[in-house]
């Protein structure tokens, strides 16, 4: 089973942040029929406290803080709902920048397509973000180890590959990541060189 292509709706936690008009009722009814765990939330608070996979939210000036907080929250995929008749709808849409969008009046087919797209995009973004974090961590490590290596070379009058070997050995002996050993070398050097003044 391809993990991307098929969604188990019964496992999805969905929040509908929309007034109880025809569209709001339709969203709730349809999502419930799909088998999702649906909650209604109106009016919107400043941020979502509960865990959710997908949030359908009416985009209007009053819901902007809520939508903004959702775009920062890694787990919830935001599907925006706009009223094209509203004079500032395009501006609002650009500001909020949801993962998918429905226009009022909402139709059932659009609901499903946008749910799928938003959720897949959200998960993909999360994977990319985790990759970025991992690479940033590696970059920080590289810098730290470089500094430690230079310090060791100067202090002990050893060459580059000997300095690396020393760091690797210490990391293995103490069973810690090399970044930890490097930090210790750098910090103790900073402390001791301050004492010289």
């Amino acid at each position: 089973m391809s993990s991307g292509a098929q969604i188990d709706y019964r496992q999805l936690r969905v929040v509908v942040a929309h007034p109880r008009d025809a569209d709001g009722d339709m969203l709730l009814r349809h999502l419930q029929r799909l088998g999702c765990r649906v909650d209604h939330l109106w009016p919107t608070p400043d941020q979502l406290d509960a865990e959710a996979d997908v949030v359908f939210c009416l985009i209007e000036p009053e819901t902007r803080p809520f939508c903004a907080s959702l775009m920062e929250k890694v787990h919830a995929a935001l599907v925006g709902i706009v009223d094209p008749a509203h004079p500032r709808s395009m501006q609002l849409l650009t500001d909020v920048n949801p993962l998918a969008v429905l226009t009022k009046p909402v139709d059932a087919a659009a609901l499903l397509t946008n749910l799928v797209v938003a959720r897949n995009n959200s998960r993909y973004q999360r994977r990319l973000q985790s990759k970025i974090s991992k690479l940033e961590e590696t970059l920080r490590s590289v810098r730290k180890v470089e500094r430690a290596k230079t310090i060791l070379m100067e202090q002990r009058h050893i060459d580059e590959s000997e300095a690396y070997a020393y760091l690797r050995e210490q990391a293995m002996k103490k069973r810690v990541p090399i970044g930890v050993i490097a930090s210790v070398v750098v910090e103790s050097n900073d402390v001791l060189s301050d004492e010289k003044d």
């Binding site: 089973m1 391809s2 292509a5 994977r127 590959s161």
Partner: protein, 373 residues
């Protein structure tokens, strides 16, 4: 994710190794290792009583085919796990596909490092697990003047960049660097021998892969050079390439790898004998077969534990898992998604096997970004 299939349905897994084209010589061995492991898992009752069923395509040694088939596997064919790829170009082509579609590629081949993906499990050697030990040995045993010859694509070029850096750190020097097309013909290698004769390096570091490997080593023999004074050192020349070129042509040259057929662990003696029984007495094993083989078993073990092929569920238990592979005890490193692997140096002998001349005391932690090297 809930299973809608019946609990007797097989686990479908993707397999992408070339059976035709310039790198088929080694990829078809990886295919065999994969199939053998699948057969073993199924013979033991499958995973949670469900058998593994491979969906196979032949990308014919073309990177864009790998991308196309990976996409097909992850969409139309409904699989999420793929065992495959040899060349770095094929892996780089598949990477955005598995990342976008949240698949899981198991990559059983040494490569140039400097990569990380949450959608790839790397079970082949990273540069610190082969190049570092090799360079130290070569400098000590032969001299400091290195000539770099490689196939013209990302892996050799990046590996040579790393080799230059390692040599600089150790006061070695690069006295020549030359790239040939993957499809290069014997005449092009003969031309190269002239430059080697003029330059007289102490070591030839080769990242030539596939069928062309045989042409390089044959040209060397025809030029009358002596491996005792100017060996070809490689990370990729395995028992498979040796079989292609002939044991007499390969004899005396050096390879660094986590595994050789001649490794004397009890696991390996059994593995080699089962492999030969299955595929023929004169079919040798090699580092790429071994990784392709053990990675299926690592997968099956993890799958049995979580009973789901959803990478979000499966990957966390794969990371940190351990296995007694033919090369020795290995573990998947949680930090990097690579594998703790044994480091060995082998010298090709007259029987087409490698004599292990150096080996690590335990499996070496991968450092794909050479943070500590």
């Amino acid at each position: 994710m809930a299973q809608r299939l019946s609990d007797r349905d097989p686990w479908r897994i993707g397999v992408l190794f070339s059976q035709t084209g310039v790198t088929a010589v080694i990829e078809e061995t990886q295919l065999r290792g994969t199939i053998m492991a699948i057969e073993e898992v199924n013979a033991a009752g499958g995973v949670n009583d469900r058998e593994l069923v491979p969906i196979l395509y032949d990308p014919a040694s073309e990177a864009r085919n790998f991308a196309r088939y990976a996409d097909k596997l992850l969409t139309e064919d409904g699989v999420s796990t793929i065992f495959g790829c040899y060349t770095s170009s094929s892996r780089k082509a598949v990477l955005p596909v598995v990342e976008r579609r949240n698949g899981l590629l198991w990559y059983p081949t040494l490569y140039e490092g400097f990569e990380y993906s949450p959608n790839i499990i790397y079970t082949g050697a990273a540069p610190n697990q082969n190049s570092v030990e090799l360079v130290d040995f070569l400098l000590e045993s032969y001299g400091s003047r290195f000539y770099l010859i490689g196939s013209d694509y990302i892996y050799p070029r990046e590996s040579n960049r790393i080799m230059r850096e390692l040599l600089r750190q150790r006061r070695g020097q690069v006295v020549g660097e030359h790239y040939l097309d993957l499809g290069a013909r014997p005449s092009e290698f003969r031309l190269l021998m002239r430059d080697l004769r003029n330059t007289r390096p102490d070591v030839i570091f080769s990242t030539v892969v596939g069928r062309a490997t045989a042409y390089l080593y044959q040209a060397y023999v025809d030029a009358g050079f002596d491996p005792r004074t100017m060996p070809i050192a490689s990370l990729t020349t395995s028992e498979a390439e040796v079989k292609l070129m002939g044991a007499d042509v390969a004899c005396g040259h050096i390879t660094a790898a986590p595994y050789f057929e001649s490794v004397k662990t009890p696991n390996n003696l059994s593995f080699v004998s089962r492999y030969k029984k299955r595929f023929g007495e004169d079919e040798p094993t090699n580092l790429c077969v071994e990784a392709a083989y053990f990675q299926v078993h690592v997968f099956a073990k993890a799958l049995a534990e979580v009973n789901s092929m959803d990478p979000d569920v499966l990957r966390p238990v794969v990371l940190g898992s351990e296995f007694d592979a033919p090369q020795g005890h290995i573990a998947i490193d949680s930090d990097s998604s690579h594998t703790n692997l044994w480091t060995r140096l082998g010298r090709a002998n007259a029987s087409g096997q490698f004599d292990v001349i150096k080996e690590s005391l335990w499996a070496v932690k991968p450092d794909p970004y050479l943070v500590s090297h």
